[in-house]
């Protein structure tokens, strides 16, 4: 038996036996459980006189949610990736560099990025609207672990992209490579990653405040 299961069953038994919450916390504290653990364990049961104790809704992992959020995550990643690629090719064209020449190879890349954006961006937008609507209709969805995980993975990747971009700008500056073209490309990465980062951070912070 895991210790968290032991804790859960102890709290259930104690509440069932009619002990007060303060007594239970004091006993657990004495046994060495930390305050957040005690709060979580007690928080799993609704306060009130009803016996046996009434469980509170818990975060759940459903296959349907994993599918929807997984698809949304991939759609967002593809959108961000191809948006950046396409913008970089456009920058190559708009800010000519004598060292590199624009050729039909980059045209093929651009066509692929356009095709990917046409497929994945509407998909992301649609899934995002859907997810927000279902959260509004059912607050329990907010507690979904799947949603939280994909949100934080997105935040993590966006943060890594921002940090990598910053390192590269400093490196290029020291190396004397800080051309207009380079600055524009670094701004594209910062813009795309920053937009995603701040959007998802706002989303995740609201979750944290609510629970």
């Amino acid at each position: 038996m895991k210790s968290s299961d032991q804790l859960a069953s102890f709290v259930y038994d104690a509440l069932n036996a009619g002990r007060s919450r303060d007594d239970i916390s004091a006993a657990l504290e004495q046994a060495g459980w930390s305050t957040p653990e005690i709060r979580d364990a007690l928080g799993n049961w609704a306060e009130g006189e009803f016996s046996p104790p009434v469980p509170r809704p818990r975060p759940f992992v459903s296959a349907r949610e994993a599918f929807l959020y997984g698809l949304m995550f991939v759609a967002l990643a593809m959108t961000a990736w191809h948006l950046s690629t396409l913008l970089m090719h456009l920058i190559d064209q708009w800010i000519p560099d004598l060292d590199e020449k624009y050729s039909y190879y980059s045209k093929r890349d651009m066509r692929f990025s356009i095709a990917s954006l046409i497929v994945f961006f509407p998909l992301f937008a649609m899934l995002n609207v859907r997810a927000n609507r279902s959260i509004k209709a059912n607050a329990g969805r907010r507690r979904s672990d799947v949603r939280k995980w994909f949100g934080y993975i997105t935040l993590f990747l966006a943060a890594i992209a921002l940090l990598g971009d910053l390192i590269y700008v400093i490196y290029a500056l020291l190396n004397g490579d800080l051309t207009a073209r380079f600055i524009a490309k670094a701004a594209v990465v910062a813009g795309v990653a920053g937009l995603i980062f701040f959007y998802f951070r706002a989303d995740m912070t609201e979750d944290a405040n609510e629970s």
């Binding site: 020449k101 937008a125 995002n128």
Partner: protein, 133 residues
């Protein structure tokens, strides 16, 4: 959720604008077809260049003044490659510039996009080649 509608609309506008700029820049399916034809022409020009080298080698390492027609080509270098544009039937043009240089011209539709910018004379649509004896 306060962040619900602002950023998605901004992102939507950015994505749509980028797609539009991208399509405007690369052109539609017609441009793609032109590029495909140019690719075939470029392949013909390269084959012709190899043919020229072969002819020169058979001729005491002297560049020919003009290309023999497909029927008259010498046995060592037969069969001769395609001598005319398959799409417009216009013959490719071979020009001897000096004893060590020649060029082959074709009716490229987008010569600026050919992947050999150093050899390509964009205004004339000609590929410049060196011949080392």
């Amino acid at each position: 959720m306060k962040a619900e509608s602002g950023p998605p609309i901004v992102i939507g506008i950015i994505v749509l604008a980028t797609i539009a700029a991208g399509i405007w820049s690369v052109g539609g399916p017609a441009t793609g077809k032109q590029e495909k034809r140019d690719k075939a022409r470029m392949s013909d020009v390269r084959n012709l260049s190899g043919h020229v080298i072969c002819l020169a080698y058979a001729n005491d390492k002297v560049l020919p003044d003009a290309l023999p027609s497909e029927q008259d080509t010498i046995a060592d270098c037969a069969p001769a490659p395609r001598m005319a544009d398959p799409f417009t039937q216009a013959p490719y043009v071979y020009e001897k510039i000096s004893d060590t240089a020649y060029r082959i011209c074709a009716g490229f539709e987008h010569p600026e996009l050919i992947a050999y910018p150093k050899q390509m004379d964009v205004d004339a649509g000609c590929m410049n080649y060196q011949y080392k004896r």
